[in-house]
């Protein structure tokens, strides 16, 4: 199902993650299902541990890949409600959650995605989201206030 071009791209994406210092992230190949996933652990400035996962869709890189926050699970907001209960939210910069409840972080929306965007940049947005999330936990203010400068254009 994967073209040579897609496989080459994924190998290169992995290589760039390593060379750019994003060594906690890798592109994994699932041998039994012949599927790909980019994932890894992320720790915030305060030292808390998170996990991010990007299942690679069949149309990658022309099709936008979703990014899920898989740990901690479930993920709670300041007031104790689950982040996934918001669904698509501008206040929290989230898109539709995964069927098993993982929160989908907004990196590029479909209307802005294009195939020149690297997974490295997607993970970078994930790291920024985590910092903003911790600001939200500390202050109770919407996450969107802390990511105003996250320009969507690459």
């Amino acid at each position: 199902m994967w073209t040579d071009e897609q496989r080459r791209r994924l190998v290169l994406e992995h290589e760039i993650l390593q060379r750019e210092g994003f060594t906690q992230f890798s592109v994994y190949w699932y041998r039994s299902t012949d599927t790909y996933e980019a994932s890894g652990a992320a720790s915030s400035n305060s030292g808390r541990a998170y996990s991010l996962a990007i299942p690679i869709p069949s149309g990658f890189p022309y099709q936008r890949p979703p990014m899920y926050l898989t740990e901690p699970f479930p993920l709670y907001m300041f007031d104790g409600t689950r982040v996934s209960s918001l669904g698509v939210s501008h206040q929290m910069h989230t898109l539709a959650p995964c069927s098993n409840g993982f929160v989908q972080l907004c990196h590029w929306r479909d209307a802005r995605w294009h195939s020149n965007i690297l997974l490295q940049k997607v993970f970078l947005k994930g790291l920024l989201w985590i910092e903003a999330y911790e600001q939200h936990l500390a202050t109770g203010r919407p996450l969107a206030e802390f990511v105003l400068t996250m320009a969507e254009r690459a």
């Binding site: 791209r9 290169l12 060379r19 699932y30 890189p61 669904g87 294009h114």
Partner: protein, 487 residues
């Protein structure tokens, strides 16, 4: 007007009037008889009202397909009669054979074509078309040439409430008639072997598909999963009587009513990665693909598939509330593709019209909805026309046509049109149309050149260029087994 002799005189007089030749008789309205009579020219008719050529359209008209009658000819020769159905329009002013088009009138009547006047039509026949052999070589619309070369003149008779009225019979040959009207600009049947695939048959896509069919494009493939809603009707060519039908079916019928010989395939499927295997063979059959969808993911998908299949694609889109629009023509690996366009002009490529709930959801968050703000049909049609014209130019490439001279005019890959200088956009300060001769204004097409990105991820070699920028040998990517694997 029951007197057959009188009727024959009237018919001859009508003919003379219609041809604006002086006849031996003319028609007058006889107030005492309260009817129209034919009188010999020069006769004194003091109390009569003269009828002029402008009044000549006085009989109802029955229209019969010549092609159908030629096919029926062996049966007519054998049985002397054949039945058919007619749409009855406008209180019996026009009877159109149902098989000529696809939209029947609310009222349908049974009719028959009879060979000779003495034949008894089947029960329930309300309209008769009676053929009489003629030696007259002057072919008018009421004359039919049979497959055996014999000629026949026809007259119609309408039976209602025990009265018998004359009806003018007209034969039509649909295909030659349509081709004749296109001839001169587009040589007959020059496009009949061409296929166009249209993704999205909303207002713009439907208009483009119908216009191409009118030009004589022989094969159209329509892809759209949506149904026609009441809200669509103010812009879409489909009408209220079609609400609820799949848009591909509505447009298919509109096309068949314009070009009955066009072959039309309809696919009510969404343009998503899940349906890629359905799309690929459709694209492979197409000479040109028109992408008239309004969201980025579907355009990027079409872009990738068309580049892979080496098929030319034309993308059309309206800006929000259709204050303007743009058209991009992509000749794979020769001109910039849609990804090149996105990279070169990020502002223009994301300014899209939000004309449906789905479009709005595409760009909205649930706690910050985007209003549905469709533009006017009037403002979408210039863009749809440009899409059609660019597609037409590609279909005619290499074929002799009077449109070939336009090649130099449609050289640029990207075209911009503004309906109004929308406040808040970079076009707000454009000068008024009437005051400008050398500055950009509304209501004009601008062809704009930009370069193809050789490192484009869709039409170039993005991976190699990117690898090189990291000092990685692109060839090593094929063999790099550095990806960690999991079971």
């Amino acid at each position: 007007m029951g007197d057959p002799q009188q009727q024959q005189m009237i018919r001859e007089a009508m003919k003379a009037i219609a041809e604006r030749k002086p006849g031996r008789s003319k028609l007058v309205y006889d107030k005492t008889k309260r009817t129209i009579v034919a009188v010999v020219e020069g006769a004194q008719t003091p109390r009569a009202l003269n009828i002029t050529a402008d009044d000549a359209d006085m009989f109802a008209v029955v229209t019969v397909s010549s092609r159908w009658l030629r096919e029926q000819w062996p049966q007519i020769m054998r049985d002397r009669v054949t039945s058919t159905l007619f749409s009855s329009w406008d209180d019996g002013d026009a009877f159109t054979q149902c098989n000529l088009g696809i939209h029947p009138a609310p009222s349908i009547i049974q009719g028959a074509v009879l060979f000779g006047d003495g034949i008894e039509p089947p029960d329930g026949t309300q309209l008769r078309v009676i053929l009489t052999p003629t030696q007259n070589s002057n072919l008018d619309p009421s004359t039919f040439v049979a497959p055996d070369g014999s000629t026949h003149c026809a007259e119609g008779r309408r039976t209602s409430n025990n009265s018998d009225e004359a009806v003018t019979a007209v034969f039509v040959d649909v295909q030659p008639a349509l081709a004749t009207r296109r001839a001169g600009i587009l040589e007959t049947s020059i496009l009949s072997d061409k296929s166009v695939l249209v993704f999205g048959v909303g207002t713009g896509g439907a208009h483009a598909a119908i216009e191409l069919a009118k030009c004589g494009v022989g094969r159209l493939i329509l892809v759209d999963p949506d149904r026609l809603s009441v809200g669509n009707v103010v812009r879409h060519p489909g009408g209220l009587s079609q609400v609820g039908r799949l848009k591909v079916k509505v447009v298919c019928d509109l096309i068949r009513d314009k070009n009955p010989d066009a072959q039309i395939l309809t696919h009510p499927v969404a343009l998503t990665y899940a349906n890629v295997e359905t799309m690929k063979p459709l694209i492979a059959q197409a000479d040109v693909v028109i992408c008239a969808t309004d969201n980025r993911p579907s355009k990027l998908l079409v872009n990738k598939l068309c580049i892979e299949a080496n098929v030319i694609a034309v993308y059309g889109g309206a800006f929000r509330r259709a204050y303007g629009g743009q058209v991009l023509r992509v000749r794979p690996r020769q001109s910039p593709c849609h990804e090149c366009f996105v990279a070169a002009m990020p502002e223009e490529s994301t300014d899209i019209e939000v004309s449906s709930v789905a479009d709005a959801e595409e760009i909205a968050y649930s706690d910050r909805p985007v209003a549905i703000e469709p533009g006017l049909s009037l403002d979408v049609l210039p863009i749809a026309n440009m899409v059609t014209k660019l597609a037409l130019m590609e279909l005619l490439a290499g074929k002799p046509s009077s449109l070939s001279i336009l090649k130099r005019d449609f050289d640029a890959p990207w075209y911009l049109w503004l309906n109004r200088p929308e406040p808040g956009t970079q076009y707000a300060s454009w000068p008024p149309l009437s005051e400008s001769s050398d500055e950009m204004t509304i209501n004009r097409w601008y062809g704009i050149y930009f370069e193809r990105d050789l490192a484009c991820s869709a039409c170039g070699d993005f991976t190699s260029a990117l690898a090189a920028s990291y000092g990685i040998d692109a060839a090593s990517l094929e063999t790099l087994s550095s990806l960690p694997s999991k079971e």
